[in-house]
């Protein structure tokens, strides 16, 4: 009997000790005395940066899209050229539905005058995520866990069963959820020191691709081994529903909305011309302005762009700079920020 008590006593002592450790850890996390997000090579996550910029009222316009748009728009360069503060939000493998929730969440913290929505998320489907819907929800939403909209979005996007995964899931993709959860801090410790280069951001711009596509990869693209098939270029019914909700949201808040598409690597995609034509007529019918940079002569003739433009479907830093200058030109030419608009 004595040993049993001794074991129970040990369990109690160890549990109390662990609880004390958790309390200290939570206190340190909450006080911000130790910044978990800057450990090792992990850069600043764009949502953390977004909350900081939004709290200082520094955001005039949002760039919204998937990882290709995050890598394509150099917000610092764009801000300098247009004299407005841009910030890019969005996430890998974005869909228009998840972007709607991202924008809706962002608008709780900031009031931009314009939103530029990148449209490569239209017609995008990744079968992998169908099997990981619950995991996807926390990947999609870099929301603060204290914000109830995370629950609303999770339920709407992925069903009620995904809530536990969002609340208690891994924090690897969204390190900001660590801020309220010491258990997750411990759980994700194994991965902390891995360099998370893509999370190094500057006004949401995250691009660390300095080397262009290599010859082997290029050859593979040319033989159509990889390359995203955009044969179903038109937005799905669900895409249109969320687009309309987004347009309504922007109208209600008095925000101008522009749709645009970042450049493609010619050998990378199939049916590009078909996609461009279909999207153009779709936006014409909808009555919205859509800017595409496919076969943009200024880019095609710019050595910075055509010699060193793309890494695995994403623009390189040089390519992004060249593209951003063209985007700035278009926004200037269309007087997107003028009061007449």
């Amino acid at each position: 009997m004595e040993e049993k008590h001794s074991f129970k006593l040990f369990l109690i002592e160890a549990s109390v000790g662990f609880l004390a450790f958790l309390i200290i850890l939570a206190a340190i996390e909450r006080s911000g005395a130790f910044d978990f997000h800057f450990r090792e090579h992990a850069g600043k996550h764009r949502w953390i940066e977004f909350y900081e910029s939004a709290s200082k009222n520094e955001i005039n316009a949002l760039i919204v899209g998937n990882s290709q748009s995050l890598a394509a728009v150099d917000c610092e360069l764009l801000s300098t050229h247009l004299n407005k503060n841009f910030f890019s939000i969005g996430h890998d493998a974005a869909t228009i539905s998840s972007l709607y929730w991202s924008v809706r969440h962002a608008l709780n913290y900031t009031s931009p005058s314009a939103i530029c929505l990148e449209t490569k998320c239209f017609g995008f489907f990744n079968g992998l995520y169908e099997f990981e819907r619950a995991i996807q929800s926390r990947k999609d939403l870099g929301f603060r866990k204290t914000d109830l909209s995370v629950l609303e979005a999770t339920v709407e996007l992925h069903g009620i069963y995904s809530i536990p995964f969002t609340l208690f899931g891994s924090s690897l993709s969204s390190p900001e959820i660590l801020e309220t959860d010491p258990i997750l801090t411990i759980k994700s410790m194994e991965k902390w020191s891995k360099p998370i280069q893509s999370k190094k951001t500057k006004l949401g711009f995250c691009n660390n691709f300095t080397e262009s596509i290599d010859d082997t990869l290029l050859a593979r693209y040319k033989t159509d081994e990889t390359g995203r098939d955009y044969i179903e270029a038109l937005p799905t019914k669900e895409d249109i529903e969320y687009m309309e909700r987004l347009i309504l949201l922007c109208e209600r808040k008095g925000i101008r909305l522009l749709f645009f598409e970042t450049p493609y690597f010619q050998s990378d995609q199939k049916n590009l011309e078909d996609r461009q034509n279909k999207l153009q007529s779709f936006f014409n019918i909808q009555g919205h302005d859509w800017k595409t940079f496919w076969q943009n002569q200024n880019l095609i003739s710019n050595p910075d762009f055509y010699q060193n433009s793309l890494y695995n479907q994403h623009l390189t830093v040089k390519g992004a700079q060249a593209f951003t200058l063209q985007l700035a030109k278009v926004l200037k030419d269309t007087q997107f920020f003028s009061d007449n608009q």
């Binding site: 040993e3 002592e13 000790g17 200290i24 130790f34 411990i186 194994e190 902390w192």
Partner: protein, 501 residues
């Protein structure tokens, strides 16, 4: 699933509670051993389930041979030979076959030109060198009549595969570990608390010090061209501390985990960084393997007490010890160099120093021994002979760039750690050395670290947990043994350096 993963600790806590709640009754001894066996095999299978067949075959062979040795006294030697041949056969096939082929090709190329033989391309199953030596030790003990053969197969399989020490030791003797499987000890509250501290100390050494130093060392060994003599010296010392913290950290965790289950494993390290001489170092570093070589190999070799025979036997023992660590010319060189140091520098320099029995000469002897041993580790860490020689040659390129503090900072930052990380590295190494010096001098502080009043232990445990959380490097590094293009038999991620042996 190494000791530094969340999955291991979650599984272990569940097993620990189950173990002491349901299995700690004498009537459930067999069930307890069976549970340990299942847990151990599950742990081993988390690396590669195919390796289970090898460990099971090796264990059953030794188990059966030992029983046969006891039953037929006139065929004892044959059964021992069969058991050892089987175990060494596995080791030779998986670990040494390709090395022997390469060596043969190299030898033949001197006489008959270039030749090429087929290779297996197999990768050594994790922990194979450790459990093979444990089973061979058991067979030899039974043969010599020092230990009665075990009749319970579950008990024996558990002894070989006991998960705390399966991957990287300590290599246990049958007389130490098997009796612990034959009885159930009551839960020891005090021992369990000490075990927790030992585990935390081990994780601190591994995650905070070894993994941090690994960044410096890995960068340097991947880019020898950026080294100067000064940085090479730092990297040599850095790798020694990394290796020590990596391996002793693992052993501390292993001993602590076993202690939580009521088992007492042997000490494998006894503050080797403070060793006064070569001989002293080998008594303190990887104690169980060197004791194994001494008892089962050196004593057997050392029949003629002449100086030449002693020297030859010493070189054979260190050569084999080097090859035990890895099948390459580098490990062999490292082993032979250490044998040479022990045979020459020890009697010529260290012993005269130590005879004077004063602190300064002891420190001088420590420094001399450390300089040689640490430098020899270049062969231990180097990818191949050429890289090791290249790094060794860097010791002649003194450029004295560190007259300026900023220059020194710049030179060091090229090795992958920022200024603050370098400062933290220095602080943690000083902490480690301070604790070890206090332990060495048997200071009362050191004793209270393990066995002192509750508040002191609690504070120490919390401090260690927070330090590990905030300053640990958790990256899963892939071990040095990589997949072979010819088709690997086993693939494994190995977070601890010694897991690769």
């Amino acid at each position: 699933m190494g000791f530094n993963t969340f999955a291991f600790w979650t599984s272990f806590i569940l097993f620990f509670v189950f173990y002491w709640t349901f299995l700690n009754r004498p009537s459930r001894l067999r069930f307890r051993n069976l549970s340990i066996l299942i847990a151990s095999y599950a742990f081993y299978a988390s690396w590669d389930w195919r390796a289970l067949f090898i460990i099971a075959a090796s264990s059953l062979m030794s188990f059966g041979a030992a029983i046969m040795m006891a039953q037929s006294a006139n065929r004892k030697k044959q059964w021992l030979s069969l058991s050892i041949a089987t175990n060494l056969g596995f080791l030779a096939a998986f670990k040494y076959f390709d090395f022997f082929i390469e060596s043969a090709e190299l030898g033949l190329s001197l006489f008959v030109g270039e030749t090429s033989f087929a290779r297996t391309g197999w990768i050594v199953p994790v922990g194979m060198s450790f459990y093979t030596f444990q089973t061979m030790g058991y067979s030899i003990d039974v043969y010599r009549g020092r230990f009665k053969p075990v009749r319970d197969p579950v008990l024996f399989l558990s002894f070989v595969a006991f998960f705390p020490q399966l991957i990287a030791g300590p290599i246990e003797r049958a007389k130490v570990l098997i009796p612990q499987f034959q009885k159930i000890e009551p839960f020891d509250h005090r021992a369990a608390k000490e075990a927790i501290l030992l585990i935390l100390w081990g994780l601190f050494k591994k995650l905070v010090i070894a993994n941090r130093l690994a960044v410096l060392v890995d960068t340097a060994y991947a880019n020898p061209s950026i080294l100067s003599a000064e940085t090479t010296c730092l990297i040599i010392v850095g790798f020694t501390i990394q290796l020590y913290c990596d391996f002793s950290g693992y052993c501390d965790v292993a001993i602590g985990v076993a202690r939580l289950l009521g088992f007492k494993l042997s000490q494998n390290f006894n503050r080797p960084l403070l060793a006064a001489s070569f001989q002293d170092l080998w008594r303190r570093w990887h104690i169980t393997i060197h004791a194994w070589f001494r008892d089962y190999l050196f004593c057997h070799l050392n029949r003629k007490k002449t100086t030449i025979w002693l020297f030859a036997n010493m070189m054979i023992m260190f050569g084999i010890s080097g090859l035990w660590h890895g099948a390459s010319l580098n490990f062999l060189t490292w082993g032979l160099l250490n044998g040479l140091f022990l045979a020459t520098i020890e009697p010529l320099v260290c012993k005269p120093f130590l005879k004077r029995k004063c602190k300064i000469t002891r420190i001088a002897s420590t420094l001399v021994a450390s300089a040689f041993i640490y430098t020899s580790l270049i062969f231990f860490r180097g990818q191949d002979w050429h890289q090791s020689i290249e790094i060794l040659s860097k010791l002649s390129e003194w450029s004295f760039p560190w007259t300026d503090f900023n220059e020194a900072k710049k030179a060091l930052q090229r090795f992958g750690l920022g200024s603050w990380e370098l400062v933290f590295t220095a602080i943690f190494i000083v902490t480690l050395l301070s604790v070890e010096i206090l332990q060495e001098t048997r200071h009362s502080c050191a004793a209270s670290f393990w066995t002192g009043p509750g508040l002191g232990r609690w504070s120490a445990a919390l401090l260690l947990m927070l330090t590990i959380t905030f300053f640990g490097f958790y990256d899963d590094r892939v071990g040095l043994v990589q997949l072979n293009e010819a088709g690997a038999f086993f693939e494994a991620e190995r977070a601890f350096e010694y897991e690769k042996f």
